[in-house]
Every structure is written in C-alpha cells, then in structure tokens.
Amino acid sequence: MRPTVRAITIAIAIIWLFIIATIGTAIYSAANIRVFLNSTETTISPDGSIILTVNFTIQNNWFEDLRNLNIITSILEDSRDILLSFNTTMIDSIGGGENITVIHSVSMNLFNLDNETLEILLFDDTALRFETSVGVTLAEVLPVRVGVSTKSYWGAPLYGFIAGPPTLKVVGGTNYASVLVSFENHSSLFPVIGTIKVSIYNSTGAFLGYGEASVSVPSYYDYSGYIDIPISNPAYLTENGTFSIQFAMNMFNFTWEVQY
C-alpha cells in the first residue's frame, strides 16, 4: 500500500507544480503585453456610415505566442440596450517578441436601422455605449477577455421636431395649408441636409395635399420654416388630422406619422 500512496503523493505534487507553472506563465505573459494607442478617428463615409476607427500596436514581449486574439466592439443605445452595430477583428497569433499594428473599426449606418430605433436616435438626445472587449489565450490554455465599456453623448439631429398645426392661406388664387416645421440639430457628427416631405390627411383620412422643403442645417444650428402644401378644397381641411412626414436626408431616411 505504501508505494501506491507515495506514487499518488508524487502525482499530486506534479499536478500542483503544473498548476502553479501555468498560472505563473499566464501572469508573466499578460504582464509582458504592451498596447499603444496610435490614433482614433470618427469619419463619415460616402454611403452615410459613421465609422469609428482605432489604430493601435500590440507588443508581445514574452517568448510564447499570443493566440486567438480577437477584438469585439459593440455600439448600443444606452438606456434601452438596443444593439446598433458591432464588428470583430481576429488575429490568429502574435509571435513571441513581435509587434503588430491593428486597425479595428466599427461602423454605424442609420439607413440600416429599423424605424423604432431610428425614431429614438433622431428625436431624443441620448447616450451611446461602446463596449469593446479583447480576448486572448494566455499560456496556451487560459482564455482571458478584458472588456471596457464607455459612454458617449448622442445628439439628436431632429431634436424637438415640431410640425403644424396647418394654417390656411391663399396665394395667387391657390389654397395652401401652411405648416410650420422646426427642429434643432444637436448632432456633432453631421449636418442635416436633404428634403422634408409633408403629406397632409384630414380627420377622415382623406389625402389633401403634399409639399416639401429642402433643408441644410449644420451641427448645433436650428431650423424653422413653413412648408406650403397646395390643397384643392379648403373645406376638407379639418381642425385635426395627420401629417405623414418623410425625411430624405444625407444620413438617414425616415417616415413618421404625427397627429396635428
């Protein structure tokens, strides 16, 4: 029995040595990783995407390879946890003593968002949450993931949008429903350039007319103007009704129905 007990004791000692060696190697491996942030920039692409690009250098000063390095960035609307965009950058391995420059980017295109999410982003000042996590396998057997979460202010490009109520006016014998449209562009990222198209329906749902206005509102400026909608019969214009407003803009398309 004694040789068996002794053999087990040796096996236990070897396993503990292996555990300690693995943890020690992982700690030293992690301690010898250096990350240098070279640049970050936000750009707008011709197709209307907002692109956040991070350029950084990873130095692996340890003799072992760093394996399965992956960087995941997600952009979320903070208060409602809506995923707006995400991107993953994979690097198979960084050899011992090697440097590697990584360009990681994530883009958000307002044209690709659903109407409900877009309504929040267009009309409400809110916060975007950037969740970036970096995963790597240390000492060949220990997958580690470090995640960083930051928040950034999102200014609504159509903040405080108001339309109506329509007022009747006659110009040169033609009847117009004149609709006051105003909003503030709180977005620091882009100007609001495009066309606001307004269709008007009376309380019975009958289509009365259609008008549009071109707008060009730089960041932090407000817009206020009348859109004149020619209507054939002013008697159909009721006190209550519906506007169908289409925003055909450089950065987004959005259709919105609102009561007046």
């Binding site: 007990v5 087990i8 555990i19 693995t22 580690v144 470090v146």
Partner: protein
C-alpha cells in the same frame, strides 16, 4: 496520551498553522495586498486559507492516528467544494468600475479547475488508502 506528547502535538499543530498562514497569507499579502483584489476573490481566498490552515493544523495534531487521514480527506473535500464555488464552474469575472469606464475581466479557468479537482480527488484517494494501510498496521 501523555501530557508531554499532548503538548508536543499542540506545538506541532500551532507551528504548522503558523507556517501555512505565513506562506499562504502573510507573504502573498505583502507582495500583492489583498485589499486590491475584488471582494468576491478576497472572501474566497480567506475561506481557502481558513480551510487549509485549520485542517492542516488538525492533521498535524492527529499525526499517527486514524484522524490524520480523516482530516486529510475532509480537507481535500472542503477544497474541492471551495474551488468549485469560488471559480463558479471555471468562469471568473471581475468588474472594476473606474471614473468613466467599466472594466470587466473574464478568465476561463476551466483547465486549472479540472487540474485542481483531479489533484484533490487524488488527495482523497491517498488519505483513504493511507487510512486502510494505517488500520492494517502497515505504516
């Protein structure tokens, strides 16, 4: 048990406890102060030290008796449960809120957990075999 032998066992148990407490707590705490660890890890580590120091001291006190093996097996079982509880099945997550950012570190310690469980299971087997050998008068 003679009074002298009893005192010797007490001294041996205290010496063992002091040695393990120094190696497992005082030295690591001097190098990496435990206040800087996340609370969950600090609490689990505190339990780990209490289990190892307590049972090892009891084993030192009960040397050359059947209780030595009983305490050894109990220590191994206690460490198994403690490690499983502390490692939460292998995934350890540490959150560190800083001023404007939230940092979360996740470590998959499944491999380490499995190795620790194998080592502790072997420790249980070793103590059972040791107890059988002791009872058969082999040791």
């Amino acid at each position: 048990m003679a009074e002298r032998e009893f005192l010797a066992r007490i001294f041996k148990a205290l010496a063992m406890g002091l040695l393990l407490f120094t190696v497992l707590y005082l030295i690591p705490n001097t190098l990496f102060p435990i206040e800087f660890y996340p609370k969950s890890i600090a609490v689990s580590y505190g339990f780990f030290i209490a289990v190892v120091v307590g049972f090892s001291s009891a084993m030192a006190f009960a040397t050359d008796t059947i209780f030595y093996y009983a305490f050894g097996a109990c220590r191994a079982f206690a460490i198994i449960f403690l490690v499983m509880f502390a490692f939460k099945g292998g995934m350890v997550e540490i959150s560190m809120p800083l001023v404007a950012v939230q940092i979360k570190i996740s470590i998959d310690l499944t491999v380490i957990l499995v190795m620790m469980l194998i080592a502790e299971m072997l420790d249980v087997i070793k103590n059972v075999l040791g107890a059988i050998a002791f009872l058969s008068g082999e040791s």
